[in-house]
């Protein structure tokens, strides 16, 4: 979990390190250089400190640190070389070290002490070599090839001996001040996997939903790509948890939350709103409350503070009951119900346990999904529809009931808060963190087009390592895996949104839907690419997947997602 970096703590460590740098310069000149060490060389404390700070700081800070430390060595009295020499070398060294380490963390998605230390040592060696190289370049009489060959090995050796100590000290000082930077800009392994499985899990959802209503749109009709399309499903699942994870990918859902406080509306209204919302959740969202029961204004208002709304409704399991009204609209669009809500209709269904079991199984699938292959997905495709056909409503029912009874529900309820936090909808993103995620979130909230550009890449992944976990948890409850793939997949919907002027995420009916007036689930032709949906699992083609993975990796390598 990313720990919030307190300003105080950060300031303290900055001051400490600045003093340490100054002290290192003085100690280097007054003590270290005077030690009669064998080999005619001495360790370079300043260089070690610069590189150690570099791997713990941003490239800009590292460059400034290196410049300052080098310049101090350049101008402090006994210096005989040209001023600026070491400043140049240390500046480059620090910057490169920070940059390289960042690239590594971006690739692995984790903070790695060993990698950090390795980078630091490598940078130190490079720095020593750089000092010698620049001296040779400037034809400093003191620095000749003979001298370098005599001094350099010893200097590097002493640096290596001293580096663990310096590294440890810097880690100590910066602990808590430097975020556990796993802001893996890009995607974790789990997330990459999630992107693979998302479509599969998505395919199952409609089944679940539809079965209860008596509509038998098989997974066949499942729209394959737009995350937008997932939205209805998610809502219906009854856990409400999915919403939370979803926002990561795109916009905060405005409408959904509104439903919590509202009373059920006439079935007709509900139906209308439901149908309209299916599609791409484009711009209309505000008017068409998903809940279908809310006054327009109420919807808009809640839309602005999705995080809070969610929190209120889902933070505790007990609140689950309250949430269920939110799903009512979903029911509405399903067309099943009257004011009484899904709970009633679903109650009649087959044992809820069946659904639970299913969910549990699915969860297992997803969690173990790292190894999952096409075959497993295929199996799911076939098996799933059948099992769910009868009992779709079970989840809804349980949600409607006040207390979560099943393991799946409990899990969903438990994961809900964390889901929220991961979404950062809880307020962390709003807090103005510098994490990329927060940035694009806020940007997207504004519904500005620039946000679109940012969204996919920067990181919904966010900074915390725990997020992936949350995401997967959400899969369990809501069956939707929100992964990196989502961010990627979200691009197209986002673009569409740009044209339509709405929030794709909201999963409310898009303008396109309204215009075409077709039922969302049947509608495939409007989907970009217009490929026929895969019957059950709705999986991506292998090509697709590879493309996504490659794109993700490229982004990482380029450091874009940072």
């Amino acid at each position: 979990m990313r720990q919030e970096v307190s300003v105080k703590r950060k300031a303290l460590s900055v001051v400490t390190l600045a003093i340490a740098l100054f002290a290192a310069v003085v100690i280097q000149l007054t003590v270290v250089n005077r030690l009669p060490l064998p080999g005619g060389a001495a360790p370079d404390l300043v260089l070690l400190l610069v590189t150690a700070i570099a791997v713990a700081a941003t490239p800009a800070v590292a460059a400034v640190t290196g410049f300052a430390g080098g310049l101090a060595l350049d101008v402090a009295p006994p210096a005989a070389h040209y001023a600026g020499q070491y400043a140049l070398v240390f500046c480059l060294t620090g910057y490169a070290a920070s940059r390289v380490y960042r690239a590594i963390t971006n690739t692995t998605g984790e903070q790695d002490r060993v990698a950090a230390f390795t980078v630091m040592v490598a940078a130190t060696v490079a720095g020593e070599a750089g000092k010698a190289a620049l001296g040779l370049l400037l034809s400093d009489p003191d620095v000749t090839t003979a001298t370098v060959s005599h001094v350099l090995p010893g200097a590097i050796l002493y640096d290596l001996l001293l580096s663990p100590l310096v590294f440890w000290l810097v880690v100590r000082v910066t602990r808590g001040a430097v975020p556990d930077r796993a802001p893996a800009p890009a995607f974790d392994r789990e997330q990459r996997l999630a992107s693979v499985f998302r479509p599969a899990s998505a395919g199952a959802a409609p089944n679940l939903r539809l079965a209860g209503t008596g509509m038998s749109f098989g997974p066949r009709s499942l729209p394959r790509r737009a995350p937008v399309l997932f939205a209805p499903r998610k809502r219906l699942s009854g856990t409400g948890e999915k919403y939370r994870s979803e926002p990561v990918a795109g916009r905060v859902p405005k409408l959904r939350l509104s439903g919590t406080s509202a009373s059920p509306f006439p079935a007709a209204t509900a139906t209308f709103s439901g149908s309209s919302q299916f599609p791409l959740a484009a711009g209309r969202t505000r008017k068409l409350s998903f809940a279908g029961d809310l006054p327009v204004r109420a919807g808009a208002r809640t839309a602005r503070t999705p995080g809070k709304g969610w929190l209120r409704s889902t933070a505790t399991p007990a609140l689950g009951a309250r949430m269920s009204p939110a799903h009512v609209p979903a029911r509405g669009w399903l067309g099943s119900a009257g004011p009484s809500g899904l709970a009633g209709s679903g109650a009649a269904g087959r044992p809820s346990r069946l659904a639970d079991v299913r969910i549990g199984r699915r969860m297992g699938d997803v969690i173990n999904g790292h190894a999952a292959t096409g075959s497993t997905r295929r199996r799911r495709k076939t098996a799933h529809p059948r099992r769910f056909a009868s009992g779709t409503l079970a989840p809804a029912r349980t949600v409607a009931s006040q207390v979560p009874r099943t393991g799946a529900e409990a899990l969903a309820a438990r994961s809900a808060p964390s889901g929220l936090s991961s979404l950062s909808g809880a307020g962390t993103p709003l807090a103005g963190r510098r994490s990329p995620q927060a940035g694009w979130l806020s940007g997207s909230r504004g519904a500005t087009t620039p946000a679109v550009a940012k969204a996919p890449r920067s990181g919904w992944l966010g900074s915390s390592r725990s997020r992936p976990r949350t995401v997967i948890g959400s899969v369990v409850g809501g069956r939707t895996v929100i992964g990196p793939g989502l961010g990627r997949a979200g691009r197209r919907p986002l673009r569409r949104r740009a044209t339509l002027g709405g929030s794709w995420y909201a999963a409310s009916p898009s303008g396109a839907w309204l215009r075409r007036g077709r039922h969302p689930w049947r509608k495939r032709s409007y989907l970009p690419g217009g490929r026929p949906p895969v019957p059950s699992g709705g999986t991506r083609t292998g090509k697709d997947r590879h493309f996504i993975a490659r794109a993700a990796r490229l982004l990482q390598l380029v450091g874009v997602g940072r």
């Binding site: 941003t58 310049l71 009295p77 001023a83 600026g84 400043a87 001094v151």
Partner: protein, 265 residues
Amino acid sequence: MLEARRTRAVLIALLVVAIALITIDFRDGGNSGAHSLGGRIFGPVEHLAGDATSVFRGAGNANEVANLQKQNDELRAQLAQARTANTDAAQLTKLLRLSKSDGYHVVTGTVIAAGGDYSDTVTINAGSRDGITSNETVLNGDGLVGTVVSTTPTTATVQLATDANATVGIRMAGTDQIGSLSGSAATLSGSAPLKLTLFNANAALKPGQTLVTFGSVGGRPYVPGVPVGTVSTVTTQPGSLTPTAVVKPFADFTGLGVVGVVVSK
């Protein structure tokens, strides 16, 4: 993206500044304002640090030692002067315009800092306030140490005779042959020798011969007659125009403590 761009801007700005500093310093021959500014900032700090470290070095009776050292240095300087005067005083005096009325005055200082791996420079805790100026001879109880290259109010930077930039005019003690002695880099903590080149192609060089400074105009940067070292190995190559040798200095450059600066009054 924005952050990356900002980072790049910072980096480029810093590099430009660094290169500008190098260029300016290069133009000024290593004596740009940056060095004096740095001296002003770090000089006092190093002064303090030198005092602090001297405590650890057990210099409880540092003052006494310093006084004795100073006396010793003064006597040595006078002896060198006397010796010089006795050999061929008239000629040298005329040649070098040594004013015999001026005795040598020695200001003592303690080494408080040393340069890095590639430079043979040290800083002493006496500066322009004590009357030290650039290009003054620095010696210790054993022999020649170097010359002052820059000063701050409280510190002075000494270029050791072993620095690659240093060239000392010398005279063979017995034969009065003159030559030059140049340092090789990285001898501060090592044992790289000094290289002697005599100007007279026919001069005889033998191991064990003693070298003293030849002296410079006005005693800057080197006063005459300061013992430098002894010839350890003759390295004259057959057919070379000048005899060369390796010289072992009297002073122990790896363990410099109290040194004296010859201040001309």
